[in-house]
Amino acid sequence: MITCSIQIFIIVLLSFGIACAQGEKLVTKPSIQEPVTMDTTSTNSIQDQLSMIYDHALYVGIDAFAPIRGWFARKNTGYQVVSSFRVYKKIHLAVEIGQSTIVYDRLDWKATMQGLYYKVGFNWSLYEHSTDPDQMYYLGLRYTFSPYQQEVKAYPVRSFGVVYTGGGLPKIHLIAQWLEPVIGARVALFNTPIYLDASLNLFFLITSTKQGGMDPLAIPGFGEDLDKKNLEFKWAIVYKIPIVNKRR
């Protein structure tokens, strides 16, 4: 599943590259050093294009991959709302909120984890499309905080060659925090204010409270604990809401 996600992600990233490169060939870059002999219409056009570089807009959307993943897996369901806002030339503030329910049924454990997770961080654009800087490749970082509820319904007690199932443990509230380096791309869909934002998020668990010294089996938003590291492929559909139009 993880390998498949990475392959899809790389294909999407390459597709973005081809789309952006083709877009660049079609649009002639505006040059501010050209003599001022143009008519008013063309001057306005150049100014409009330049002003786009400093457009401030709020991008709000949902992770479209989360319900698809839940539909297929049926053991990790939830949703995620994403938003970002350009605070400086190449810096975008990102805030994301999600909910997840994980049914853990592996290695003779039976447990359910349910809760919200809150992410805050930034994206730094590595490359922006010359006429539409909202289309970009970016690197980012997120800090995530997840208060969640865990209920262990059965746990394994291992003896030699035999596994006994222990009874359940009481339902408990736990907290986890992790950091997410992000690499992604955002591209406009059909010249509309709707964008496809694909990213690969790597999770590094910082701390997590424990029930009776037990490592977390799974954490909402983080997934099943894989040696305190995990990764996620996110495919968000975002809508651009212009807020400030700051001209040069």
Binding site: L107, W109, Y137, V157, F160, L202, G213, K229, L231
Partner: protein
């Protein structure tokens, strides 16, 4: 940024992904630690010297098929029940000749978390050993050496056999 630098940027991104991937995805599904300790039984003769038994069959809780078929050994490690306090072992030198039973009762059982892959291991405390002999003259005596079974490093039970 022109097309060449764009693709350079893209290549850098992909390289970064590969580096980050390399440090992720280490699944921890294999239990490689000690699980619940087994009962460590040593065999001795009436004088207390180590005794190597040619053959020994051990049956658990009245099962018809033997749990252990031991050949030429002076000790035995065997797991106790983890889901109940009592474990009953029946001993036979020949398959069709029951000699006696030993009932091991742990009044207290404690569980300790090991890892996600291993789950919990169980310790047995306040352990008693009761002997029920069918055929006199084979098992001479049963001596409980420890009342706690928390590891396998030293024997918990000694069985003395008639010569």
């Amino acid at each position: 940024m022109n097309g060449t630098s764009f693709y350079k940027c893209l290549l850098r991104c992909l390289s970064l992904i590969l580096v980050m991937m390399n440090s992720s995805c280490e699944e921890t599904d294999v239990c490689d630690q000690m699980v619940s300790p087994r009962l460590n039984i040593v065999f001795k003769d009436v004088r207390g010297d180590a005794l190597v038994l040619d053959t020994l069959y051990v049956y658990r809780d009245g099962n018809r098929s033997p749990e252990v078929m031991m050949h030429k050994s002076d000790s035995l490690h065997i797991a106790l029940n983890a889901d109940k306090n009592e474990t009953r072992f029946e001993f036979r030198r020949k398959e069709d000749a029951p000699l006696g039973e030993i009932l091991i009762t742990a009044k207290n059982r404690e569980r300790q978390y090991i890892s996600i892959a291993c789950g919990f291991k169980q310790f047995y405390k306040d352990v008693t050993y009761d002997q029920y002999q069918y055929k006199l003259g084979e098992i001479e005596r049963v001596i409980g050496l420890q009342s706690e079974i928390v590891d396998e490093s030293s024997p918990h039970l000694e069985i003395r056999w008639q010569d």
